[in-house]
Symmetry: C2
Subunit: 392 residues, 2 copies
């Protein structure tokens, strides 16, 4: 006899994307040891924490070292000072979210994965191409998944269709990997659809700080969303917290499945399987959303967005279809001459010594597309754009 | 139509323990505003982070503020520097654990809860009284749970019985709430049983730093455990990290269910639904396990253990059955005169102005017992012991 494992793990595909990239880059550099490779495939921030955040976090660490200011277990849903700072952040762009509806966590990835715990056996609708966590966390739970194609025709912003049923819908805007951002009208259509069908939208707003036009930075900018949507957000990209770890999830009190408030389920899930976020990290996050901290963070965002604009300009110049380049640190473009994603990866690597991310790695609808990231220095970005100009 | 929720949440009992305690204390203090209440119910550390840890964590925060030393996403399983420090910690008390078998997390509670993801529909055996996370996380997954009574007869250290089947077994030693610690011989019996029946032991070693006799500090001190046991441990109680948040789980490479290595499942679970621990927190944890840091941490442990010894001495003096008082910050004792847990709670509150934790709150087998915690000042502990002496 043996104990039973979760057999759903057998249905997970091995994700070879980043290991395959590493393998090909390694093979190339071994043959070309003097090549100056520029890595534009990075989905991680590169600029340091801003001074206001560093100062606040250091002060909090000092507090932890003194008997009179030491803090033990944090509240499981986050300290009130941070929940209120997050509510104020929403208010700063005109969105009303109650502090009590905000659940602080160690990151949006954890929440995106753990949210499956509160749902039963629904049909799960996930756009393709996609952030892999949405897929894999549902496969682990044995759920039925239907993919929603994102394509050139819908501008990589798929909309509800007549045959979509009651279910759980993942939306990510501004999108990773495509950089495309829904308009208020488009999100209103999604919210109306969810309210009509009794569906729940899981809205990933991790890139909200990059929005530079009038695209909504939160689904709660749309009337009715508080009755049908959960939102994930994070300090990772806004404040460079990928290595500091803090995110949050909004589960509005008004959101119910029949008579059951989903907030009660998430609150119980977190109180049972989570013990709150490190106090110094919460103070750092609070500082990031202060007026001074946010001004410093936005300098970094502007720096990345300037990089993205340089890449977008090249695509325009060459007449290549692309999404992103604004509202997002990513530029997602059609590989030239009908090339597939991996062939273009090889061409870019061997002819321009630039590493990017093949779109096919994010799903079947990503085939023939390619992602470049602006998380890099201006100098590297300029050089990469010049090299790209030569081969596009 | 509505989406389906996880109906298993309906089977969760509301945990009224700490809210009921708060309610009764509030009612008493409103009637007796001058009463000097001493709180001995706390399961949370009270002494600040030690200087070596504070210094390391501040340095790491500074690194995050500089371009040349900034770090983005941490490795999902923990930085090698910390995994190696933890392996060295095991080695310091004679236990061999490979760094690669160690998965760093934001705390043992998260791991204890999330581990259910990797298992199928097994019978779950859980001792009573119990840390509520073991129960609730399995109820949320709809598992069949069998309680193993911990009683005066088995010294609150239940052993395998003939009718126990293949399953998942939770053991916690030194135990929360009872403070009892298994001997090496007892753990060997458990390990042999698990190997014979193809069962898996989930061993919670959160209180290992409190072991002061020859009780094992890790289940891997017992031969064969690497083939049948997962271990949870934490910096929370060892280094006062309840508010700093860092723990770890050991899933040995040798542990398999049939042909499936459980390590591969946990690695995939964590890579999908977790994004690693904050870099400054990992540097703080590394410092706690350095020679200098551990020496400072052990001063705090000794301080708490001195408090526990004072309470244990009182129980001996009064001839009251108890467990803990050594190997644990807790003293778990039989309420005098056959009183039930809550009646004794009221007596202690009203006659001695001391607040403790009713054993019945941890499970049916806790009825008639009571837990006192040593997480307090020496002064308060001495005063509480004097007051208890008057009513026991």
């Amino acid at each position: 006899m043996n104990i039973k494992i979760n057999e759903n793990f057998n249905h997970l595909a091995q994700n070879y994307l980043f290991s395959e990239i590493a393998k090909r880059v390694k093979a190339y550099t071994e043959k070309n040891p003097d090549a100056k490779i520029i890595r534009m495939g990075i989905g991680d921030v590169t600029r340091p924490l801003c001074p206001h955040v560093v100062s606040a976090m250091k002060n909090a660490v000092e507090e932890m070292g003194k008997a009179e200011s030491f803090r033990g277990y944090p509240p499981e849903y986050g300290y009130d000072f941070l929940r209120e700072a997050i509510a104020a952040h929403y208010a700063s762009f005109g969105v009303t979210v109650a502090a009590g509806d905000i659940f602080v966590s160690d990151g949006a990835k954890s929440d995106c994965g753990n949210i499956v715990d509160i749902f039963g056996d629904n049909t799960i609708y996930i756009p393709d191409p996609v952030y892999p966590v949405y897929m894999d966390s549902n496969i682990m739970s044995g759920r039925t998944i239907k993919l929603i194609p994102a394509t050139v025709e819908n501008g990589f912003l798929p909309m509800p269709k007549a045959d979509f049923t009651t279910g759980v819908y993942y939306l990510c805007s501004p999108n990773n990997p495509t950089g495309a951002a829904y308009s208020a009208e488009q999100l209103q259509t999604w919210v109306d659809f969810a309210l009509d069908t009794g569906s729940v939208i899981l809205f990933d707003a991790a890139y909200e700080a990059f929005v530079s036009d009038d695209s909504p930075r939160s689904i709660y900018a749309v009337p009715g969303a508080e009755k049908c949507a959960i939102e994930f957000a994070s300090f990772s990209k806004t404040a460079g917290f990928t290595g500091t770890r803090c995110g949050y999830t909004v589960v509005p009190a008004a959101l119910k499945a029949g008579d059951t408030p989903l907030q009660a389920l998430w609150a119980r899930r977190q109180a049972t399987k989570f013990n709150g976020v490190s106090y110094p990290v919460q103070r750092a996050a609070e500082a990031a959303y202060s007026q001074e901290g946010l001004a410093q963070c936005m300098e970094n965002i502007s720096y990345y967005m300037n990089n993205a604009a340089l890449m977008a300009e090249l695509m325009r110049e060459k007449g290549i279809f692309f999404t992103g380049g604004k509202n997002s640190p990513y530029v997602w473009f059609k590989c030239p001459n009908g090339m597939d994603s991996w062939s273009f990866f090889d061409k870019l690597l061997t002819e321009a010594q630039v590493v990017g991310t093949p779109g096919a790695g994010f799903g079947a609808c990503g085939e023939g597309f390619f992602r470049l990231s602006s998380f890099n220095s201006l100098e590297n970005t300029k050089e990469a754009v010049e090299r790209l100009r030569g081969i596009l």
